[in-house]
Each structure stands twice: as C-alpha cells, then as structure tokens.
Amino acid sequence: MTTPTATPPAVAAAPPPAPSPPRRRPPVRPGRMLSHLALVSYCLTSVSAFVWCVMVSLKTNPEFFSSSPWSLPQDPQFGNYAEAWNGAQISRFFLNSLYVTVTSVGVSLLFAVMAAYVLARVDFPGKSVVRLVFLSGLMMPAFLVIVPLYFLLRNLGLLGSLHGLVLVYIATQIPFSIYLLSSFFQSLPKELEEAACMDGASPTRTFFSVVLPQVSPAVASVALLNTLTIWNEFFFALVFLTDPQQQTIPVGLLGLSVNAQYSANWVQLFAGLVITMIPMLILFAFAQDRIARGVSVGALKG
C-alpha cells in the first residue's frame, strides 16, 4: 500500500508566488470530524477489548468476580502467565502449532514452487489438464473433503496425530500457492536461465541457484499468508486432533474455555488468550503491508 498521507492536493503543487500563500489543508469540515469520531470510537473499542483482556489476566480469580470489569488489578498476578504456560498446557499447544505451521508451510511451499515453475515455464503434453486440476482446489471447501479425509487418516493410522494434520495442511495450501506463484514466474525474464544453461548448469541447479533467488519476494508473501492461515486453522484441527496433548492453539484454547466454566479458573484462561495474541500481533506489526497486499491480490484476482 502506498502511504495515504503524502498526497498534497494538485492546487498546492502549482507554484503560485501570490502574496497570500494558498491554504495547504482544507478547512475542518463537519464530515471530516464525524469520520474521525467514528474511527476513533471504533479503534478505541478494539483497543479496550484487548486492554480488558490483559487486565483480567493479571487479577486473581476472587478479584475477577468481585471487582468491576474495568478496575485495575490490585496486585498484578504475573504468575497467571506462568501457570497458563505450564499448568494449562499453553506451551504444549504453542509448540504443536509451531511444528504444524513451520513444517507444513515449508514443505508445501517447496513443492508448490517446483510445480509452479514447471507449469509456468515448460511445455509438456497434458499441461492444461494438470493446471486445471490444481486450480480446481481453489474452490473446494473443507466441508467437501472432511468425511473421506477423516477415514483416510484413520486408515493410515494418522488420526489424532500432528503428522496427519501436517499432510492435510500441505495439500490444502498447494492450489493457492501454485496459483499465486505461477503467475509470478510468468512475469520473470528468461535470459538468466538461458545463460545459466549455456554455462553448463544442470536444470535443477539452475532452478535452485538462479530462479529461486529471483522469486524469493513472492515466496515470502505466500509464506506469510499461509502461515497466518495455518496458525489459525480451526476446522481440520478440531476434527482430527482429539487428544488434548496433540492440539494446536485454536482447538486447545476452546478446550480450555470449556474447562474454565467448570474449574472457574478464568484468569488463567485470559492469560492464555493474551499469550496467544502476542506473537501474531508482533508478526503482524512487522509485516502488515505485505500481508495486506498479498491478501488483496489473492482475493481480487481469484
């Protein structure tokens, strides 16, 4: 996204050395004030929801029930975080999510880059069919595959295991990644590859040391989008991961929230919620533009 701030009106761009300099900004209009008011109140609501969550996570359970929801914690209980991390197994969910996300995004990206390259660059019989087969995956909802997939994993002995989920996640990311990457490959000039070939590099070598470096920005965008999707994936994880020891964050949190209703240990749950928010918000703060750009490309052209 280009920065929306630095676009002065065209009037100001013309050099008028008139005695009274032209006004740079339009006078404050009621419409503008209302826009700001709406934006500020919306953003304030979002931020206070988050702040509330953090405040609750620092209270004690009796305090949580007796004090006003917006009161500050009397004596911040940072121990709640340690308890959530160890006792409530947030650390377990966290590592599971990390393992599932890193392996599935990495492997699917490698396979998708290779397939996209061949689909974009090489002519071979049946190519249009293969491309269509991959692209058809773009409109397959998870609901369409869930029943046979459940039994496939069960027959393979992979039901309830993170490895099974990784395989499913690899497959679900492939169509979208190929779709985005192959259009990117098509926009690359071919000269470098031809030169490498003339220098006697094998095609595999050419691919890994000449082509891949050129597409790394696109690969990074796709990786980021896939990371966001997989880290937050809920449906497959809910169906396939039945053992609490083997759950990812989205499903594990749901289990914790159900338990909190019986054990009344709410503050620990809130500490868990905050712990799961922090890494994604940090990632997001650093990669906001890239994520927004990638998502809009994927949605508007798809």
């Binding site: 090489v122 087969v133 046979p148 508007l300």
Partner: protein
C-alpha cells in the same frame, strides 16, 4: 549453432517435469482430490463409519428436502450472511475510503486490521466473555450509560440476539481485510476525477456517491459474492461462541454438517450436505467469474 540453444534448454527443462510436479501432485491428489471425489459417492450411501457403506441412492438428498432442521440451518446461514453484509460492507467501505488521505490513516488502518492476526478462537472467546452477563465488560459499560435493561440481557443466551453477536464478532475480526479491498478499489479511481469534483464544490460524501461509487460498484459486486461464499462456510465463530445454540438458533449449515458427521455418525447424510454446500459455492464462483469477465471486456 545458435539455433539449438532454446532447444537444449527446453529439452533439459522437460526432464524436470516429472520430479518437480510429482510431490505436489501426489499430496494434493491423495489428501484433497481423492476425498473430494469420494464425497460424491459417500453421499449416495448410508454409512455409520463402522460397517461398510450401504448403497442408498438419492435417499440422503430426499431426506434433506424433508429435514426441517436442515432448512432452518439454511435460513440461519442466510440470516448470518445478510446481517454480516449489512454490517461489513458499509463499515469496510467507510473505513477504506476515509482513511485514504488522512494524516492518521495508517494508524487507524493498523488498528482496524490487527484483529485479523488473532486466531478465530481467540477473537470469538474475547467477544463471548466481553458480553458475558456475569463478568462481561460490555454490561458494565451499558450500566454506566444508563441502559440497565439492556445490560441484564444475556446477549448470547437469547435466540434473538445471539446471531447478531456472532455476526459482530466475525465482522470485527475480518473487517480490516475488506477495508483493504475497498481501499485498493478506491485507489484505482482516477485522482483527477475526484479533484475536479472537489474543485466544483462537491462535499467528500458527494464525491464518493457520484464519482467513486459508480466505479467501485463492479468490485463491490465481486466482493459481495466472495462474502456469500464465506458466509455459506461460517463455522468457527459459531462453534466457539454459541455452539449452535441457544435452542439451535445459530445452527448453520457448517455446524450442522459437523454434528451430523462427528456427533451422530451419519456420514452419508453429512456427505450429502457437503455436496449441496459445494454446489452452492460452485454456482457463486461461476457467477463471479462471469461478472469479472464481462467487466474486463468493457475496458
């Protein structure tokens, strides 16, 4: 021999086809294509997941037409989608348009977009607890501004308000992306047009209504279909916030399918629901492709 140059490259590359295509194709075929195709077969059987599936012909589909629970989930799904569009589209359009040339635009956009990074469960639970009648923060705000009657309502416990709450949480979570879609669309409107209108004395709302909106309508139409496709598949927020309740008032197609399959073990029937859902999504996808094709022909 300069002629053989592309041929050599071409020939060398051909050797890549199989090893480069195979890993992606095998995994994709096994874990997506095969289950997707099998669903159509399972939909024609009666299957409890333990014994072998029994051929049932179209029985599952005739049962769907008589299943009042299924038709109520269709209604709820439509209510969700329409309510969501009514909140999401004006909101996202407004945010996307007004933050464009603002000094604080980037800050606003960051704050509006940030919830996208939270997992759906986190976002859903956050809102579930915010409106909890016992300890919710929203209730105390309502009381503070004198709306005591509203504060005592169990917002997620009443059929009349539960769906609205789920919609609001869903929209809060995703609105930032839709804001970016609209911002991208609005940026494609030529700046000269807007400036000319402004110089002629049009207010910013008038500029939007008469200059930007006609050009943005094309994109909005496509986005509406995209939202409908997403709305048909709504699942996570409902499971986390209401689990379909109270009194099944928020049971949608997705949650119903999930329960039919994994709570009642009626896998054939669940597959039939999946086929119907897929058909609806297919129709919407084809519709959006037709619209975009016509659009590109016009330019």
């Amino acid at each position: 021999m300069p002629r053989s140059r592309p041929n050599l490259l071409e020939r060398q590359r051909r050797r890549l086809v199989v090893p480069f295509l195979l890993p992606a194709l095998v995994l994709y075929a096994l874990f997506m294509l095969y289950p997707a195709v099998t669903t159509f077969y399972v939909a024609l059987t009666k299957w409890d997941g333990v014994n072998a599936p029994e051929w049932a012909g179209a029985a599952n589909f005739t049962r769907l037409t008589e299943d009042s629970l299924f038709s109520s989930t269709i209604t709820h799904t439509i209510v969700f989608t329409v309510l969501g569009a009514l909140v999401l589209f004006p909101g996202a359009m407004f945010f996307g348009y007004v933050t464009q040339r603002m000094r604080l635009g980037r800050v606003y956009r960051f704050l509006i977009l940030a919830p996208v990074a939270l997992s759906v469960t986190t976002a859903a639970l956050l809102w579930k607890f915010l409106v909890d009648p016992n300890f919710g923060a929203v209730q105390s705000v309502l009381r503070a501004i004198g709306l005591d009657s509203l504060a005592s309502v169990e917002l997620l416990g009443r059929p009349s308000t539960a769906m609205l709450m789920v919609v609001l949480a869903t929209v809060w979570h995703g609105i930032g992306l839709w804001m970016m879609f609209f911002a991208a669309a609005a940026e494609r409107v030529p700046a000269e047009l807007k400036e000319a209108a402004t110089l002629d004395g049009a207010s910013s709302f008038q500029v939007f209504r008469h200059v930007v909106w006609p050009l943005m309508w094309e994109v909005t139409r496509t986005l509406l279909i995209l939202w409908m496709i997403q709305g048909l598949q709504t699942f996570a927020f409902i499971i986390a916030m209401t689990n379909g309740g109270p009194l099944r008032a928020t049971e949608v197609i997705g949650t119903y399918l999930y329960k039919v399959a994994f709570a009642s073990s009626e896998f054939g029937y669940a597959a039939a629901i999946a086929v119907v859902l897929f058909a609806a999504i297919l129709v919407l996808t084809l519709l959006s492709q037709r619209l975009t094709r016509r659009e590109s022909e016009q330019y």
